[in-house]
């Protein structure tokens, strides 16, 4: 529609949209992550639903201008509920040739391409490995898009001519110019970002002013020039009423752990060794010294988990955070936690494997390792987060089960939810599920010696704290006698203990919700069964397919071990079960083994989340196959 512009009074084409996907793409040094975050936060603040997907290179700072150095930030915001950062972009901002090269293939036909002309000079084209003489802005390859070529660098320098800053410093504000322009284009207030800049650079007023000036001149550029034909109007979302914040998965994980420990009334101890993409949990938790949170940067992953085991033994909530390679190293110690029946939360933020693999990419390929990756029969509960905000609840649940059931629990996150963000209607502390952590203080054996392995009716042994008089006893990694916990090499006892440990984990199923259909109806023609971070994409695909008239249902698994009691029954109600996973079909093999149903795997191993469209085609294809 053509309409009077809200502020300028000019007539522009204002397109209404339910949601818009914007991709900021530039060199690692161009500040794309910051730009994207500000755009996201502003949208969220304005009441839109959002989902983000930051992507960055494995190198700290790969050579400027190269494809290896491209850093991208994608955000999907809208007035409807948003579950994914979007498959294709409506708007692509490309700060240089390498960024264009990397991301252009996902810009929708007819989409808007904004380029920084300075990034398309000879040098940049060469760095991006375009053949000599070829400029994608001029060879017709971008004809399908609405292209805005802007000499951002020049505009910024003009705007800052009187700032007294040097060339380099001026150039650093490029991203703010672009952000201002985007704010104009989507009619978003600059207030949030101005507040942010003022706060961040309060000690360097020159820089503060330069950034604000650049931001505003970006806005003005949109407003004043006749270049731009289109603006967008995206309504606020109909989210449930409440107070919201913006949160990433790793941040949510960190505060979930703090809440769990405090709710249980015990110390939080994190033993961790840095590793991408899990390190931010360590960084975040290390800020809470004021709350008595103890973070311990161990010499390696083995020391990290062992220190956490020691901490739990001494009465804390012991936690260790890592990613794949670290999880592989922790296997032996995880077995120790299993046999000593000590609460422990193991956080694995999955990334692309095997080996060092693709450290900054996402994947779901540690599931079977989480379930089976240690010697002997050493079962433990495994839970996975569906979305960034869900990390809070999932890790809180992990801690609750660990503490209340005296068991190590694995919490699976992945690079996608860990770094992604979304608006979160956070809970009140008072409303969090209580966590019962009781330390026994008197012998549980009327006839004499304390029995550290005498179980209650949930199969759980009592928790003790060293320092408690009269309950002195020894535990360890050798097989233990039932009830007394003394070392026992007895055959029958070993089998009994193996079953007791397995049953304890299995009975966690009595303390978790039953499985249910998330979207769609029971006994639909096809069930899309997912776990972890595929949640948003599957949900969106399901919603769209249902809207298109297909009989599809979505079931999401939060606990992958044990399975909810009714899962088999629920799944058997569908004609077909399709399991999309960012691995080679790991959950699928568990489901087939347990329920003997011909579940089919839909595997994607590209270090990238599923696109809604690819999911939809696969689902329809499966529906139509005989």
């Amino acid at each position: 529609m053509n309409t009077l512009d809200l502020k300028s009074g000019k007539v522009t084409d204002v397109r209404e949209a339910e949601n818009i996907v914007v991709r900021f793409s530039g060199d690692s040094g161009d500040g794309m992550q910051l730009t994207g975050t500000q755009f996201t936060d502003t949208s969220a603040f304005l009441g839109q639903d959002i989902s983000t997907f930051p992507e960055f290179p494995a190198e700290i700072r790969a050579p400027i201008g190269t494809v290896a150095g491209v850093s991208g930030f994608q955000v999907n915001f809208g007035s409807k509920e948003i579950f994914t950062p979007g498959d294709m972009y409506d708007v692509l901002v490309a700060m240089n040739s390498a960024a264009l090269k990397t991301d252009i293939h996902k810009l929708k036909k007819g989409g808007i391409l904004i380029v920084n002309l300075a990034g398309f000079d000879k040098k940049n084209l060469k760095l991006a490995h375009y053949p000599e003489g070829i400029n994608p802005l001029e060879d017709g390859s971008t004809d399908d898009f609405i292209v805005y070529k802007i000499d951002v660098t020049r505009h910024v320098k003009d705007a800052l001519a009187t700032s007294g800053l040097g060339n380099k410093e001026m150039e650093r504000s490029k991203n703010m110019f672009v952000l201002g322009l985007l704010f104009w284009m989507f009619d978003k207030s600059m207030d949030y970002t101005i507040g942010f800049i003022s706060d961040k650079f309060k000690k360097v007023p020159d820089i503060m002013n330069a950034n604000i000036t650049a931001l505003k001149s970006g806005w003005n550029f949109g407003d004043n020039t006749e270049v731009f034909k289109t603006r967008f109007k995206v309504d606020v979302a109909k989210l449930s009423p409440g107070v919201y914040r913006q949160i990433t998965g790793n941040h949510a994980t960190a505060i979930g752990l703090i809440c769990a420990a405090e709710k249980a009334g015990i110390q939080l101890f994190l033993g961790s060794y840095p590793i991408t993409p899990a390190s931010d949990i360590l960084h975040e938790l290390s800020k809470y010294r004021g709350n008595g949170v103890k973070t311990f940067q161990a010499e390696d992953e083995i020391a990290a988990i062992c220190s956490a085991i020691g901490a739990s033994y001494a009465g804390a909530l012991g936690v260790t955070t890592t990613s794949g390679p670290g999880l592989s190293l922790k296997g032996e110690a995880m077995g120790l936690a299993v046999i000593t029946e000590i609460p422990l939360v193991i956080v694995d933020v999955q990334r692309g494997g095997p080996s060092t693999g693709l450290p900054t990419k996402t994947e779901q390929s540690d599931l079977l390792q989480a379930i089976y990756g240690r010697h002997g029969e050493a079962p433990m509960p495994v839970i996975a987060a569906a979305t960034p905000a869900d990390c809070f609840e999932a890790v809180y649940e992990a801690a609750r089960i660990a503490i209340e059931h005296m068991t190590p629990v694995i919490f699976l996150s992945d690079g996608y939810v860990a770094n992604g963000s979304e608006p979160w209607r956070f809970p009140n502390a008072a409303n969090l599920t209580p966590i019962n952590c009781t330390f026994i203080t008197e012998s549980n054996n009327p006839d004499g010696k304390f029995l550290p392995y005498k179980r209650d009716d949930r199969g759980v042994r009592p928790r003790t704290k060293p320092g408690t008089p009269g309950l002195e006893h020894r535990i360890g990694g050798l097989e233990k006698q039932d009830e007394t916990g003394n070392v026992s090499y007895d055959s029958v006892n070993h089998e009994k203990m193996t079953h007791l440990r397995a049953n304890k984990v299995d009975r966690v199923a009595d303390f978790i919700p039953l499985a249910k259909v998330d979207t769609g109806k029971e006994k639909a023609k096809i069930c899309i069964l997912g776990w972890g971070s595929t949640y948003g994409a599957i949900k969106t695909a399901t919603l769209e397919l249902i809207a298109e008239g297909h009989d599809v249902a979505h079931v999401h698994l939060r606990w992958v071990n044990p399975f909810p009691r009714n899962l088999g029954e629920l799944l058997k109600g569908f004609d077909k079960v399709l399991i999309p996973e960012m691995n080679m079909g790991q959950l699928c093999s568990l489901i087939r083994a347990k329920y003997l149903i011909p579940a089919e795997s839909y595997s994607k191993v590209q270090g990238l989340p599923f696109a809604v469209d690819e999911l939809k085609s696969k689902i329809v294809e499966t529906l139509n196959s005989k």
């Binding site: 603040f45 505060i255 739990s312």
Partner: protein, 344 residues
Amino acid sequence: MSDIISLAPKKTAKDFVSDQEVKWCPGCGDYSILSQVQKVFPDFDVKKENYVFISGIGCSSRFTYYMDTYGFHSIHGRAAAVASGVKATNPELDVWLISGDGDSISIGGNHFIHLMRRNFNIKYLMFNNEIYGLTKGQYSPLSQKGIVAKSTPYGSVDEPFNPLELALGAKSTFVARSLDRDPKHQQMIFKRAHEHKGTAFVEIYQNCPVFNDEVFSPYTEKDSKREECLFIEHGMPMVFGNNNDKGLKLDGLKPVIVNIDSTNSINDLWIHDERDKTKANLLAGLFDNVSLIPHNPRPFGVFYVEDRPTYEDDLTAQIAAVTAKKGKTSLDKILSGEKTWIIA
């Protein structure tokens, strides 16, 4: 010494004997160490329930089961990491770490050196029998080069560590050596270790009669002991020999053996200064094979002591400082973060 003063009646060694059958081989040096620990414990001002023993895996690591205290028999080589977590969580516990030479310095080498630098207030007893006992006789990184053992039938080509040098190189704040066959010396060393505020590393020569019998006999047998052992004591001259007739002198940076006689009086001898790291390194370097002629005696006692804040004290202090400055953040504040908005 712990800050906690016990009001209960004084305990005896027996109070620290657990109900578990001791399962070491007859004649194993481990028995003596167990017994000395049980003997000195009643002398410490620590409540029984505050003792925690943490061990790895090995014959020596079974120790934990035999002490009637809290105990955690963990996994091979990881006792130091487990103990660090325990001590960081509850600094009031009196944590003792029991480990073998393989457990400590083969598979556990990394945690060993990091524990030394961090200086948790943990007492570390390393039972050195220069062999893997529990797995039946493979050589360890402390076995002498050339040793014929199960896994090296033609003699090992591995240069062994000097564990005290390693501990010093890793910034240990307390380094000592004792022997299984000298109960009084052990008791003295355990008391000194316990007094030290920081990681106290005690190497104990321990005979394994089954797989490495008598490797330490020059230092433990009556007829050679006084010639081969140099018992060092802070502030005292370094005297040894059957008739206390020999001594060590420092010739610049070189220790020299002298006879105490008219030319060399006891006053010229090297006076042990346990606060001097260079000298501690020199002493640790007295590591000659007894078959060498001549050779230096092997020192026993406290080599080195340094005052350095413990990890847990620094951590506690940091928590206190940050709390004092910023206060405790309420859960609701943590949940909401800095920026929120309302959807009506």
